[in-house]
């Protein structure tokens, strides 16, 4: 009998312990993931070894008959002085002006310092100077009005915030920044319907607008494999894979043609 009761007691004790341990099983220590910062401060620029940097340069050509630049009738506003021609496709002896060239891909997660100096957009002769510009995200765009008439600056972005501000003659410059990358962001003046230009907002400093001779240069590139894109308002986009070895000066020429 004694043995039996001991067995029973033991069995009970074991059962109790089992149950206890089952009840008391602790949940593993929980902790939460770091909360995302609402607005991260600008990340410091990834260092670039200046000793190894190379460059990409070249010429953008236009295949096909260059259209004759059409003259713009600006008579609706007598304050618009001078000659003005349509700038949608400017070709000088086969070289394409005002094409935007930039490193579209290949920089990975590199970050860059935003230049302190502003990019200027001038309105003169009821015409934008320049017709195409590049700017880094966060860099200041300073719009000035050199005309004796009022303009309004009206960018119509896809991914940035839209704004539309009036700028009377001799007004203080309008300073703006763009937070997100956007290629060929159109800007217009509602009072002078012919006035139109494009802003290209990019994250890297490797961009250029082709000059009169269709030339561009992307300097200070760390060695690597890049996708270089050229974009033109009417002709669309073209890309090339370019590999830059240390200190190499690569040439990449483009030939664009009308899509049809």
């Amino acid at each position: 009998m004694k043995i039996r009761s001991t067995v029973v007691l033991l069995a009970l004790a074991v059962l109790g312990l089992l149950l206890l341990s089952a009840c008391g099983k602790k949940e593993e220590q929980a902790s939460t993931k770091p909360v995302e910062q609402a607005a991260p401060a600008a990340a410091p620029a990834t260092p670039i070894d200046q000793a190894t940097v190379g460059s990409i340069s070249g010429t953008v050509k236009y295949a096909g008959a260059a259209p004759k630049p059409a003259k713009i009738d600006m008579s609706q506003d007598p304050a618009c002085k001078g000659d003005n021609t349509v700038e949608t496709l400017v070709v000088n002896s086969g070289n394409l002006e005002n094409a935007f060239v930039y490193v579209k891909d290949g920089l990975g997660s590199r970050t860059f310092d935003v230049p302190k100096q502003a990019v200027t957009l001038d309105q003169k002769g009821c015409r934008y100077h320049p017709h195409v510009l590049g700017i880094m995200t966060g860099q200041t765009l300073s719009v000035i009005n050199s005309d004796p008439t009022t303009h309004n600056i009206h960018p119509t972005p896809k991914d940035n915030r839209e704004w539309n501000e009036s700028q009377p003659p001799k007004a203080t410059p309008i300073d703006k920044t763009f937070a997100r990358e956007e290629i060929m962001l159109p800007v217009k003046c509602n009072q002078h319907p012919w006035m139109k230009m494009y802003i290209n907002v990019v994250k890297s400093p490797y961009f250029a607008v082709t000059d009169k001779d269709g030339k561009y240069a992307l300097k200070g590139l760390p060695p690597g494999k890049y996708t270089v894109a050229v974009v033109q308002e009417k002709l669309g986009e073209q890309t090339q894979e370019v590999t830059v070895s240390p200190k190499e000066a690569k040439t990449a020429d483009f030939t664009m043609k009308a899509s049809q």
Binding site: R4, S31, Q37
Partner: protein, 1096 residues
């Protein structure tokens, strides 16, 4: 058995039951322990959720608070904050000595008061006792003697020892005065201190408010509050109990984060080291739409009215979510979450709160847009016929009431004549008078009901075209091809596929052909297709119609894709249609059940004219259906424009119309009877007007409460087993499988969702394996919906339930919100959203057309604040005649924005719709009705000069963009004429517009930043004209007054002076007057409608 024999073994004493007892004890104790465990844990799985939530939330808050503290520190370095803080500190410092002094005085006074008080209260108690004694004494002599005692006591000297040690003696009165004086002094000091502290406290409040407004997260203090709350949490059932609605929801017992004021996502609540969130993390999130909870306070609405599930259950997740056999209201799945909205928002056509409401609104819209209500009744859709019957009854009752009143009145008068007393006679005569006046009131009401029934007749629309006119409209041979499978011809058509066999097709087309009208159409002149294309793409057709197929497709999907119109349609008909789609060949008389022709009019010697002004049947005077039952409006196009567009559309074809196989069987009279049978069988008349079948009823089942039908009553037929057990997908066609919102079934789908989704993807799926004759087969046609559309409709149907909530929970507001509710039905009915933006971010169909990508300012205007913008009376006139031209020959333009190529069409709204729309816009902008214009102060001559200087200043050249009425200038104008402002706009809105138009109509061509605040007034931001520089008030208000008082003469003068060399006027081939030759027979017949605006 031998007697007296003692058993060898006494079963009581010798046999051991220890084992039995042990087993029993173990079992009993085991049961007890299990019961205890079950009570504490097994029945309370939510406890664990609470504990885990507590742990993780605590960790989260700790981190959040440190981040918030960091952010606060950052903000404290901000110059704005520093300025506010300095202001506070300096205010504090400058006042500090004085504050300290007063505080000290206060302390002294308090001590003195205390010293006096202790003596005074004691004595006062004694005095009061004595007085009471005197008052209650009945004997005058005793009273007098007690009075003497009192006076003696009061005259005694009492000593007060002050805190500074001084001792003073007072009699009772002095003591009382001293006490009151001290209290007054203390009060004055307190007041002084308050005045001193006020600027300090204000500066502190300004500083703290600044932090609060600039901190993106909750401030650290608030987070600490949350930390304390969660740290002190004791596990308990969290319950919402709303007795009046019988809601008992314990959901928050597990979902503890639901109402927390921080945003908790599953990722944030996942324990460290885990990749994907576990069930605890998923349950611990905060409600993703906190705004929704603000509108629907959970303490009133609970959770289950929106989400369903078993709110009372706490024993397991399955039970609580209602995912078990006997619970009729399982939790809505995430994709169909918005079904819950329908519980209370059945009366709404469009609902939106944050990002919620899109799916259910789309479902509600599709139900009408795809013609579901042609076969299925649904409460709230197609209200017109029912309301018409209702009104008919009301009128009858009222007429009876009038007769009764007259009868009563005559009795009263008779009695009055015979009664003896004058008073009584007067009373009776007054009663008779009141009854007659009552009748006049009833007459007014009847008149309004009559008008309303006229409106209702006009508001009735059919989703499909009028098939009485197929002979005039269509290529005969095309009809059978179309009926075979509409999507083969037009992939996105609204017309569903009916799975008709050849015999049915032949019979149906024969019936339609043989019953159709044969009246000849006026011959139309050919137009220019190239011009027609341009007009088609710019006048606004693409807001509803699309053209092109596949990737080339542009335009909206509200109406038909016109890519192959040239194969099916007759030119003359399309011309008439585009000119005015509401024109009918013959009016229909519902009373006689026949189409009335010229012969009926001729019999009565009446001209063959029928429109809204001539809408009575010549035979019997009943109201006629005088217009097509389409929602398509008239774009008020000139005849040559109409011809151009029709010509262009007729060029749209893949094959020639003559290439269709001959279908002369359609003239075979023997097919007609069979055709009628099949048309009735398939309910074609639900969507189309068909001769002889105008009064057909709906053939489908009512769906108002389809979602709460017991599952047994949803006929899965032979698929019941499949759906219940294996969850095998019965649909094999990969194209149709694509439509299933959740993809092919991989789990049992024997539930409402599974039924609806399969039914909508493939309506005859439940015929699988059944042996049925043609007339027994499931009739529902294939609506060829896309996946998202099926999801939306399923959501709508799942939410279509009989609710146990009290009627007060139904969203049927009686105030201005009802105007919004009713307005949306009209807005969606006529596809106003195809052109106009009503809510920020809403996409319109027309803005997707490529040509607008670069010219957004040529899009139709946004209506985000329309009610605040326009005078409702003007809006009423505009909506009835958007050309705003009094002259019927000058209709071919826009009234407000003639510079836009796109036209605001004439919709021929009924009075009822006009009233609702105007009220809708006013309500949407929180404007009261009726609108009372504020009186505009007349400008003084000096003010006029100042305002004119601003108006014409080189820096704000208003007239550069705004139209003036000068045709040369208006060619380049991009904004409305100022002369419209006075009648059209509200001045307050106009001022807000001047200050920042982008806040009213994002993307507008009108620039922002023209005015700025300076010294408390709004001034021009550019170089201000000298005359204006000393104007003391808001320049914006001045300019608004000037605009509202602008005269045509003044504007003409200014516009002539404007520095502008007139641009050489290009000869326009289609200026707005070219429509003056538009008086074709059809147009005249419908002139009453077109010119409706003039008569309003």
């Amino acid at each position: 058995m031998p007697e007296g024999q003692i058993p060898e073994q006494d079963p009581i004493t010798t046999k051991s039951y220890a084992l039995h007892y042990t087993i029993a004890i173990v079992v009993l104790i085991g049961t007890l322990l299990w019961a205890m465990w079950d009570e504490a844990y097994g029945q309370r799985p939510w406890k664990r959720y609470q504990r885990v939530f507590q742990e993780r939330y605590t960790a989260f808050l700790k981190q959040a608070r440190s981040q918030s503290a960091d952010a606060e520190k950052d903000l404290q370095n901000n110059p704005d904050f520093r300025a506010l803080d300095d202001a506070y500190q300096s205010a504090y410092k400058s006042a500090a000595p004085k504050v300290q002094e007063i505080n000290q005085q206060l302390a002294e006074k308090s001590a003195e008061i205390l010293a006096v008080q202790s003596v005074f209260t004691d004595k006062r108690a004694y005095v009061n006792a004595l007085i009471y004694d005197i008052e209650t004494d009945n004997s005058p002599s005793s009273k007098a003697s007690k009075q003497k005692d009192l006076d003696k006591y009061k005259a005694q000297q009492f000593e007060v020892q002050y805190p500074d040690g001084a001792r003073k003696k007072y009699n009772f009165q002095q003591l009382e005065e001293t006490y009151n004086e001290l209290k007054d002094q203390k009060g004055r000091l307190g007041g002084q201190l308050g005045d001193l502290l006020k600027p300090i406290n204000e500066a502190k409040l300004a500083r703290d408010t600044w932090i609060k407004e600039h901190l993106l997260s909750l401030p650290p203090d608030a987070l600490r509050g949350l930390q304390n709350k969660i740290a002190n949490w004791d596990p308990e059932i969290v319950q919402i109990n709303v007795a009046e609605a019988n809601i008992v929801d314990r959901c928050e017992s597990c979902h503890m984060g639901t109402r927390e004021p921080v945003r908790l996502t599953a990722a944030l609540m996942t324990s460290k080291g885990r990749k994907s969130p576990d069930e605890y993390a998923l349950a611990s999130t905060s409600h993703p739409e906190p705004d929704l909870l603000t509108i629907h306070d959970p303490d009133k609405f609970g959770c289950s009215p929106c989400h369903q599930g078993n709110g009372r259950a706490t024993t397991s997740v399955e039970k609580a979510h209602g995912y078990y056999e006997h619970w009729l209201w399982p939790l809505f799945r995430k994709a169909n979450m918005e079904a819950g909205c329908q519980t209370c928002h059945q009366a709404d056509m469009f609902i939106q709160a944050g990002s919620v409401g899109q799916v259910i609104s789309e479902g509600k819209f599709l139900f009408r847009q795809r013609g579901c209500n042609g076969c299925h009744r649904y409460e709230g859709y197609d209200r017109e016929p029912e309301e018409l019957t209702n009104i008919g009854q009301q009128i009858k009752q009222m007429e009876q009431q009038q007769r009764d009143n007259l009868h009563q009145a005559s009795i009263a008068m008779q009695q009055a004549d015979q009664t003896e007393s004058n008073d009584e006679a007067n009373r009776l005569n007054q009663r008779a008078e009141a009854l007659r006046v009552e009748n006049s009131k009833i007459a007014g009401r009847i008149e309004q009901l009559d008008l309303r029934s006229n409106s209702l007749l006009r508001d009735m629309k059919k989703i499909g075209p009028d098939l009485k006119e197929v002979r005039e409209k269509l290529n005969r041979n095309w009809i059978p091809v179309w009926l075979h499978k509409p999507t083969d011809f037009r992939p996105n058509t609204k017309m569903p596929n009916f799975r008709l066999n050849d015999g049915q097709i032949k019979a149906i087309s024969a019936y339609l052909w043989q019953t159709a009208l044969t009246d000849p159409l006026p011959k139309a002149q050919p137009g220019n297709a190239a011009r027609g294309k341009e007009l088609f793409e710019t006048r606004g057709c693409l807001a509803c119609h699309s053209i092109g197929e596949g990737g080339d497709r542009i335009g909206g999907d509200f109406a038909a894709n016109l890519s192959r119109l040239g194969e099916k349609a007759n030119y003359d008909y399309i011309v008439r249609w585009i000119k005015n789609p509401r024109v009918r060949t013959r009016p229909y008389c519902a009373y006689e059940k026949k189409d009335i022709g010229p012969e009926d009019y001729a019999k009565k010697g009446l001209p063959y004219v029928f429109d809204f002004d001539h809408s009575k049947c010549p035979n019997d005077g009943h109201e006629l259906q005088v217009e097509q039952m389409t929602v398509m409006p008239s774009l008020r196009l000139a005849d040559d424009e109409v011809a151009d567009i029709a010509t262009y559309l007729l060029t749209q074809k893949k094959q020639d119309s003559s290439s269709y196989p001959d279908a002369s069987f359609m003239d075979d009279p023997k097919l007609k009877a069979e055709g009628k049978k099949w048309i009735q069988q398939f309910g074609c008349a639900g969507c189309h007007e068909i001769a002889g079948l105008e009064e057909e009823g709906r053939i489908g089942t009512e769906l108002t409460t389809e979602g709460s039908k017991p599952i047994e009553r949803l006929d899965f037929a032979l698929l019941t087993k499949v759906a219940e057990d294996s969850g095998k997908e019965p649909i094999n066609d990969p194209a149709i499988r694509e439509r299933l919102p959740e993809g092919p079934a991989n789990a049992p789908w024997y539930n409402h969702k599974g039924f609806f989704e399969h039914k909508l993807a493939m309506p005859n799926v439940y015929d699988q394996g059944m042996i049925k004759s043609d007339s027994e087969k499931l009739r529902m046609p294939d609506p060829h919906l896309a996946k998202d559309q099926i999801r939306a409709l399923t959501t709508f149907l799942l939410g279509s339930q009989e609710t146990s909530l009290p009627a007060s929970y139904q969203y049927r507001p009686e105030d201005a919100r009802r105007d919004i509710q009713e307005g949306w039905w009209i807005v969606r009915k006529y596809n106003c959203v195809g052109c106009h933006q009503f809510t920020p971010g809403q996409k319109t169909a027309i803005e997707t057309v490529p040509r607008y990508q670069d010219a957004k300012e040529t899009l139709p205007p946004k209506l985000l604040t329309e009610g605040a913008r326009v005078d409702p009376e003007w809006l009423l006139r505009f909506l009835s005649n958007p050309s705003m031209a009094p002259n019927p020959n000058d209709q071919h333009r826009n009234g407000v924005r003639p510079y836009l190529a796109v036209r605001m069409p004439t919709f021929f709204f009924s009075d009822d719709e006009l009233r609702k729309l105007v009220r809708f816009f006013q309500a949407l902008s929180q404007q009261p009705m009726p609108y009372i214009p504020q009186k505009q102060q007349l400008l003084t001559a000096a003010e006029t000069d100042m305002a004119r200087a601003l108006f014409t200043s080189q820096a704000a050249p208003c007239l550069k963009c705004h139209a003036t009425g000068d045709p040369t200038h208006d060619k380049i104008a991009t904004a409305p004429n100022f002369l419209l402002a006075k009648e059209r706009l509200k001045p307050g809105w106009t001022e807000r517009w001047l200050i920042d138009p982008a806040n009213i109509s994002p993307g507008t061509a009108m620039p922002s930043g023209l005015f700025k605040k300076e010294n408390g007034r709004m001034v021009f931001a550019g170089p201000t004209p000298p005359s204006l520089q000393n104007y003391p008030a808001d320049q914006t208000k001045l300019l608004v007054r000037y605009i509202f008082q602008l005269t045509p003469e003044e504007q003409r003068r200014l516009s002539a002076q404007a520095p502008r060399s007139a641009a050489p006027a290009k000869k326009s081939s289609r200026n707005s007057t070219s429509g003056s030759n538009s008086g074709s027979a059809q147009n005249r017949r419908f002139s009453g409608a077109t010119g409706a605006g003039g008569s309003r």
